[in-house]
């Protein structure tokens, strides 16, 4: 394909202003949809590690101190 027909291709018979935004929305939305859970997964694992750490700390703190007598 030469430059002229490429330009012709992008012009889309004068409908470029409608066609390309449509395709852009299609790809952007799907990309966002695909990567959102991956980011969430990373955050989740980080939080989970932090929580496990806290829990271990709580348990080690609780173990030696017996419950107060009434």
């Amino acid at each position: 394909m030469n430059g002229g027909s490429l330009q012709h291709f992008f012009a889309m018979g004068g409908y470029a202003g409608y066609l390309w935004p449509a395709y852009a929305v299609f790809f952007i939305v799907l990309l966002a949809d695909f990567f959102a859970p991956l980011l969430r997964r990373r955050r989740l694992l980080r939080e989970l590690r932090a929580r496990l750490g806290r829990k271990a700390a709580r348990q080690s703190r609780q173990a030696p101190t017996p419950t107060e007598p009434a």
Partner: protein
């Protein structure tokens, strides 16, 4: 701390009621109530269900108007502006926002009242047995845990007079011991407290003054 050294001037009568009475629909809830509460003293308000304990507390806190008789604060006729910030009230409704965590709730209280000397927020929460629950929304706490979160205000805020309406309700035994310990420390700091309670309060810091409400 410093108050203990200057004991004499502080042992004035903090709160005094003279012939206090309150009416609802022209029927007396209580009438001609007289008592004096000194700094360092604990008053125990006793009475059956519906005898007017909560009503009395709300009057003393300044939430209800005085129908009859007079109220004196440090020997002067009580005016709300004089005792603002010196009185801490804990009622049947705990005044906690269910969507905030205990520590966020306390931060608001501290923002309004300020800290008592030598206390921190996390220490207060630890003292009432809520460590580990600092950041849980209050709605997720059990009934007793909510009560404890409200009690942390007593640890944290500066106030001379505590008005505690049934502070023991919903608490387990360590919780009851906690309230008693807080009261003892408060009295030792020359604070005063008025407490309503139905249970047998095993309070070890001396004999409290008993105020009976007659229904």
């Amino acid at each position: 701390m410093s108050a203990a050294l200057t004991a004499v001037p502080d042992h004035v009568i903090l709160l005094e009621t003279r012939a206090l009475g309150f009416y609802r629909q022209d029927e007396p809830v209580f009438a001609s109530l007289n008592f004096r509460l000194r700094a360092g003293e604990l008053g125990l308000i006793e009475g059956d269900n519906g005898s007017g304990k909560t009503t009395l507390m709300r009057i003393l806190a300044g939430l209800l108007h005085v129908d009859e008789g007079e109220l004196y604060w440090r020997g002067q006729p009580l005016q709300r502006e004089h005792c603002l910030g010196e009185v801490l009230f804990l009622g049947h409704q705990l005044g906690l926002k269910a969507d905030l965590s205990p520590s966020e709730n306390l931060q608001v209280a501290v923002g309004l009242h300020g800290y008592r000397a030598q206390t921190t927020l996390s220490a207060a929460l630890a003292e009432v047995g809520l460590s580990g629950y600092e950041d849980e929304p209050v709605r997720r706490l059990s009934a007793g845990q909510k009560k404890r979160a409200a009690l942390a205000r007593l640890v944290l805020l500066p106030a001379k007079l505590w008005l505690l309406d049934e502070p023991y309700a919903n608490l387990d035994r360590t919780g009851i011991a906690l309230v008693n310990r807080l009261l003892e420390e408060h009295l030792a700091r020359d604070g005063a407290a008025l407490v309503t309670s139905h249970g047998t309060v095993s309070f070890h810091g001396g004999e409290p003054q008993r105020i009976r409400m007659h229904a």
